[in-house]
Each structure stands twice: as structure tokens, then as C-alpha cells.
Symmetry: C2
Subunit: 331 residues, 2 copies
């Protein structure tokens, strides 16, 4: 095992270091590359929202509620709370006959700064609909409506909605349900502790399944790839990466330095975790991995330069350092 490190420089000195654990899996060939501890057990947080959206699609929810591609994409989102995200989440709730008050996620200001400022300027208090997970929650409430299950407690691990989600995770990651340790996510939903290589395996499998146009997996991944702005938003790596790569791969961030990527044509899945949870390190690291695997090219990376090799500015606006990735040969 060799270590991947994101170095934070200031002038000529490395000021801080982030260790990164990486697993790359092929849908049929298993683990094909890794760095650090590919078996690291950690919570997947929001990085696997594409799997959490599957039960609704598999159950026929898209047809039943006449969900648009944008609405399906926002079910997989850690969105910025921009007006179009909020509108999509509200539309799902309306179609599913579920009130906004039912959302179990807590309120927080939109992650997208201008959208947060706009709310504040109108003296509007941020609501649960602005939570970056509100699309996922709206999709789960719609799934409960679809099945005729109570909306109450839909976010609890014992609720049938979450039981179907856990079964879905176990299926795609190829682990027994009994091996999945559950924690409470930032938005109140169950989150799942899994080995990194199992998550890469799941991403590889859903990526491969996405090449089969009729499947639920294909519909979810297609929504992400064709409506990337709904998966994250303005000035966000997930969105900008999916756009820059021309829809060749899907990308999903999770809290505490988690990232998942799937590459349908290559039948590859990538799971990456910054040991200390730093988002600032996850972004350049995931791009370095994609470059090392020849899954993005230099001109695509140039478009993403501010994520791949971000400058560190001081309060005077001077560039005083940068982040750079030191990656071992992946193998």
C-alpha cells in the first residue's frame, strides 16, 4: 500500500498534508487500482445518493408521478439551494401529495452563496427545502406515497423506505445487510459505513448498468449526466466535472472528504476518502485520480484548474500557496 497525499503549500514549504485513501474497481474485474487503505471503513454520506434514488425509480415512481429528468436528478443531489433546485424539490413534493413540513432534514442556508444572500436580503429564514439533501428527501417521501406507507418517520432506519434503501446498498455493494453499520447523516437519514473497495465496486456496477438503457440504474445515471446542474449547482465540482467530461462519467461528493465517480463506458467505479475529512483535499485528489487513469484529458483538466490545483489566497488577495496532489502509481 502506498499513500496518496494532498499537500497544502505556503511559499516553498508544505504547511499541511491530507492523506487520501482510494479504491478503483471494474464491474467484472474487481479492484483494479488503489492507494492508501482500500479497505478503509467509513461513512459514504451523500456520495452514494444515486443508489438511494433507485427504489423510487424501480418502483415506477417516475411514471406514477410524471417526474421530469430534472426532478429525478435532484433526488441524487447535494444541491446548492439555488432557486431551480428548490423548485424541483417542491415540485416532487407537490406531485407526491406530500407537504414541505414532512421533510425530515434540518434547515440550513443555501450552500450557493448568492442564493443564501438573496434569501437574507428578503429577510427569509432558510427552510428545510434549502437543505442540500431536500431533493433526496422529497424523492423518499414520494416513494412512501407510491407504496402507501406512512410519511411519518420515513427517515428512520426501521421505516420501509429506508429498509428498501439499505437492501439496495447491500445489493449493489455486494455486502450482507448485517455487515452495514448505520450512523445518522447530516440530514437525519441513515448513512452507511462500508469499506472503500465495496463502494468502488458498487459504483462500477451501477456505471456498467447505466449502459443498459432500459434499467432503473440507467435512468438515474442518465438524469445525473444530462442534468448535472441539478446534482450540485453553480461553481460546484460535481456539476462542472460532469459538464467538462461531456457526460462520460458521473461524480458525487459526500461530506467528510468522500467522493464517488462512475465511468459507464469503462465500467469503472472510484471511491475516495480523505482521512481527515477535508473537502479541500478531496476535490484535487479526485481529479488527480481521473487524470492518472486517463479518464479526463489535459484540456478538460484546464477547465477544472481551480479545483485541480487551487490557489490559496490571503486576506489581501495575494496568492500565498496552493494545493497539489502527490499520487503513487495506481495499481
Amino acid at each position: 500500500m502506498t499513500d496518496a497525499v494532498v499537500e497544502v503549500t505556503r511559499g516553498s514549504v508544505v504547511e499541511s498534508r491530507h492523506r487520501v485513501h482510494i479504491a478503483v474497481a471494474h464491474a467484472e474485474r474487481g479492484l483494479v487500482a488503489s492507494a492508501g487503505n482500500a479497505g478503509l471503513v467509513s461513512f459514504v454520506r451523500s456520495a452514494i445518493k444515486m443508489f438511494q434514488a433507485l427504489p423510487l425509480v424501480e418502483g415506477g415512481g417516475v411514471e406514477q408521478f410524471d417526474l421530469t429528468t430534472e426532478e429525478l436528478a435532484v433526488c441524487t443531489a447535494s444541491h446548492g439551494g439555488e432557486p431551480f433546485h428548490v423548485a424541483a424539490a417542491r415540485s416532487i413534493l407537490r406531485k407526491a401529495d406530500a407537504s414541505e413540513d414532512l421533510l425530515a432534514c434540518g434547515p440550513h442556508p443555501p450552500m450557493h452563496p448568492s442564493s443564501a444572500d438573496a434569501l437574507a436580503a428578503c429577510h427569509q429564514t432558510p427552510g428545510r427545502i434549502h437543505n442540500n439533501c431536500s431533493g433526496k428527501h422529497a424523492g423518499m417521501l414520494a416513494f412512501a406515497t407510491l407504496r402507501g406507507w406512512p410519511h411519518a418517520d420515513y427517515h428512520r432506519p426501521y421505516h420501509p423506505v429506508q429498509q428498501r434503501v439499505i437492501d439496495t446498498i447491500a445489493h449493489w455493494m455486494d455486502v450482507p445487510v448485517s455487515a452495514i453499520v448505520i450512523g445518522v447523516d447530516g440530514c437525519g437519514l441513515p448513512t452507511f459505513a462500508l469499506p472503500l473497495d465495496r463502494v468502488a465496486h458498487g459504483c462500477a456496477r451501477i456505471a456498467a448498468a447505466a449502459t443498459d438503457g432500459g434499467s432503473a440504474a440507467a435512468r438515474v445515471i442518465d438524469a445525473m449526466l444530462t442534468r448535472p446542474a441539478y446534482v450540485a449547482g453553480t461553481d460546484r465540482l460535481c456539476t462542472d466535472l460532469m459538464v467538462a467530461a461531456g457526460g462520460r462519467l458521473f461524480a458525487k461528493v459526500g461530506a467528510e472528504g468522500y467522493y464517488c465517480v462512475g465511468v459507464p463506458h469503462a465500467r469503472l467505479g472510484i471511491a475516495l476518502k480523505v482521512e481527515d475529512g477535508a473537502k479541500r483535499a478531496a476535490e484535487p485528489a479526485v481529479l488527480a485520480v481521473l487524470r492518472a487513469l486517463n479518464l479526463v484529458n489535459d484540456s478538460e483538466l484546464d477547465i477544472l484548474a481551480r479545483y485541480a490545483r487551487p490557489d490559496i489566497l490571503n486576506t489581501r488577495g495575494e496568492i500565498v500557496g496552493m494545493l497539489r496532489v502527490s499520487l503513487p502509481a495506481l495499481g
Copy 2:
């Protein structure tokens, strides 16, 4: 070398890990305890502001400008931009006949949230005086006035103010000036890359010197210990720790997970760096080190519980995890 780690838990799982490097020095006996890499070279950032304030005091600036103890304390501060901090920094500038426009630090909103909100509510734009380093900058402008040096470029490494600061750092840390690598700090001043054990040594020496009532070191440390609110502010560990410990020790945070502590009666200095730069890990780590060395007791730690063992809350306000420190036997 054994590792110190701050674990970030969620439910029953460790979700993220921060590695911490620690050096503890005695003024005469040298390095007495360590964890991780005590020779780690890193920027000291704001954690050594007590040394940066020394040239002004040694030069007679306190008498010349009739500086109050509060004003001297704010020269060592990473303050919250609370009204009393801003007033103290402005008063130094006024006494030193230096305009606020001369401050080289960039503007940022007060770190103290209510003070930032209060500015915003009055539609006031945050200024350079609200920069957490404005007290240090005001003190340096006063030093330039005192010596009759130009105010222009006082923040550049070649200016005589900074040359005296570098000499001071070299003296207390016992390193040649030529061995100090300079970077640009968040506020535009030079910052210094030094081995952790050298910084601990400097903290031990200034702590020991603080027991000699007449010295410049004693006056600076006394200002920190008797006016701790001016060194940081409301809801800040440096201030709350100095208060809880009844002035037995001084504490100074720096950016990127740095912390310095000095204990005059024990002639000890502590320097601590979180490898990845996370502030959230530095706070519980420094308190764990102080407890392990019997420099704070359990009832003092109870008062500081929210820094020592912070809960992790989600957007619903539920406690979903915590931070805990795993410290090897220090020795």
C-alpha cells in the same frame, strides 16, 4: 515516535482521523515530551504573536504611547473583531499617529458571529480594522512610529520592523536567522517555518522569562494572562482556557491547526500542529496534552468540555458523533 490522533466519530464508527504532532519543552531541560514528529517544520502562523509584540515593548513603546494593558494584549491577538477589540486597535493607531488606512491586513468580517451580524445589520462593510490581526498590525505601525521608520511597507520582510521581529524569533527559538524560511501569512505579514521543538523551546523560554516581573516578556505575557478577552474573545478557546486556568498558562492559536501554550510556573512550552491543518482537531488535542501533563485539572476541563470533547450535531440538532483524542504516553 508514537502518533497522537483526534478521531471524529459518527455513531459507533470513526469517520475521520486527524494526526497531531506535539513538542513539549522545558526552558532549561529541552524537549521533555513529544508525540508524532517533534521536528516537523511548519509555519507558526498566529501562534507566536507574543513574540511579534516584543520589539515594541523592548523599544519602550508602552511608555512612549502610554499603551494600556488591553492595548498590549490586543497586539498579541487573533481577535474576534468584537467592538472592544476594534476600539483597542484603533486606540493604538491613534496614539501612534498612524491612520487606519495604513493597516496592511486585508478586510474580513469579524470572526465573532454576533459582531459580524451587527455590522451587516448596519450595512457596514467589514474593514481592515476587523481583521483578526489588526491589533498586531497596529502594534507594528506603532513600533515604526517609535523608531521613526516609514510606515510604508512595514509588512514586508525587508522593512526594519520585520527585521526586528525575525531577529526576535531567532533569539527566542534559538535558531539562526538564515534557517528561518519565510512565507506570507493570511494578513500579509511574514510567517516563519520552524521545527515544532524549536517553537516549544521558545514558548518555554518566554514562559520562564515571564516570571521575571521587569522584563518585556513578562509585560507581554502578563497582558495576555490578565486581559485574556483581548487575545481572542467571546466563545474562543484561547480566552476561555486562560480564564479557566486562572492565568497559570497562556495559549495562542494559529491558522492551519497550530497551537502554542506556555506555563510560566512550570517553565514549559508546548507547540502542537495538526498535520492536515484542521482547527477542529487542534482544540481537543491541546486540552488533552495539558491534561496528560497535569497542567489543567478535571474541573477546569469540565468548564472547557465543549472544546475538549465537542459533539457533532446534524442539521436537525441531533448529536450524531463527537471528537475524541487518542494520545500516546507523552515522553
